[in-house]
């Protein structure tokens, strides 16, 4: 049986490379983006094969879905404003290609040298899973062990939004109304999407899912609403919108403050000259970012414009 699997994996790997190459190389940009979305879906499949369901969900929702939508919207607006003419496709440049292939070969050798016995942190994660408050190891790592990364990541999202606003990107004008069918579809779909997002968030504790995937689904709902021509009422686009946008990272930061300042004495500071030899002997410090799942709604409305 595993012959079939290895065959499938080989095919999938080749398919990935071929799709990526076509997405970059085809002259028509629109077709390039569609190929890129297909590439994203294949990537999701690859994650499933690598036993990473959480990543597959994230890839499908964010990598393929959201990025694809953003690219398509940008292309639409690009064609409307400036460069209607599509640039001629670049000639094949063998110089850089050769150089890069050589670099790639070197990289491949290094990667292969790691294949036999790559080291990892599975054991430690499994050991500490009980005290992390969730049973899904990826969510445990994401929201607890390396919660600080997630805090910074949320701030990256908020920063990208603020940066986009600071470039005073003009709000999407009201295109031709998309018609009754999409309206009706949306009225049906939106509650389902919000429900699905809540479920994903809750399920993240013990099964593949989690905060970012839920956020991505909500983001997709937002994109659909935009496509259907729905806009926030004017009085909502002021402070309420900014509040909705900053509630997620703000909440996360407040939790961080609460625990950072709360118990300074017992804080996990091993001040003094001791260099930490091994993790065991440090006193269990305050969990800066221990959060029971579902409390800090991620940058929920980050993409709802």
């Amino acid at each position: 049986m595993n012959l079939l699997q290895t065959g499938f994996d080989g095919l999938l790997a080749l398919g990935l490379i071929w799709l990526a190459w076509r997405a970059l190389a085809c002259p028509d940009l629109f077709r390039g983006i569609v190929l890129f979305i297909a590439f994203g879906l294949l990537m999701a499949l690859a994650w499933v094969r690598l036993e990473a369901p959480d990543v597959a969900l994230a890839e499908a929702a964010i990598g393929a879905g959201l990025t694809g939508a953003l690219l398509l919207a940008a292309l639409a607006r690009l064609n409307r404003t400036a460069a209607a003419q599509t640039l001629p496709r670049e000639a094949w440049r063998s110089g850089p290609a050769l150089l890069l292939v050589l670099a790639g070969a070197g990289l491949g050798l290094a990667v292969l040298s790691l294949i036999p016995e790559p080291a990892g942190l599975q054991a430690q994660v499994a050991a500490e899973l009980g005290r992390s408050g969730v049973s899904n190891p990826v969510t445990a790592v994401l929201l607890n062990f390396r919660g600080y990364d997630t805090l910074l990541e949320l701030l990256v999202l908020l920063l990208a939004l603020l940066a986009a606003w600071s470039l005073d990107a003009d709000p999407p004008r009201r295109e031709a109304p998309a018609g009754a069918v999409l309206d009706m579809l949306l009225r049906l779909l939106l509650p389902v999407l919000v429900l699905a997002a809540a479920y994903l968030l809750w399920a993240g504790a013990h099964a593949p899912g989690g905060a970012f995937q839920a956020g991505a689904v909500l983001g997709a709902a937002g994109v659909l609403a935009l496509l259907a021509g729905w806009r926030l009422q004017p009085h909502l686009t002021g402070t309420p919108l900014r509040l909705a946008v900053t509630i997620g990272p703000g909440g996360f930061l407040l939790v961080a403050w609460a625990f950072a300042a709360g118990r300074p004495a017992a804080a996990g500071i091993s001040a003094g000259t001791r260099r930490r030899s091994d993790p065991a002997d440090r006193d269990p410090g305050h969990p800066v970012h221990r959060r029971h799942p579902g409390s800090a709604v991620p940058g929920l409305a980050a993409r709802r414009r």
Binding site: A178, G179, V181, L182, M184, L185, L188, L189, V192
Partner: protein, 99 residues
Amino acid sequence: MTGPDYLSALLLLAGALFFLAGTLGLLRFPDVYTRLHALTKADNVGLGLIVLGLALQSGSWLVAGKLVLIWLLVLLAGASVAHLIARGARQRGIPEWRR
């Protein structure tokens, strides 16, 4: 291989056949409208058959219910997307194919 396994294998095979037909239609038909027609009709039925086959395999009503739910969602999405594409094509004034 017990009775239900045979049945689900049969259903999966039929579903796959319908997908094949849909894809053939996509490649062979001359204009966007007929292709839409082929895709939505054949693939939805194909998916229905596959869902039924899998439901038999799953062995629990809950999973079967979820699979049917997925099928309904795809039906809904497929129909409205086909409508939108057709409407978009009509607005761009793409003519129907006449022999």
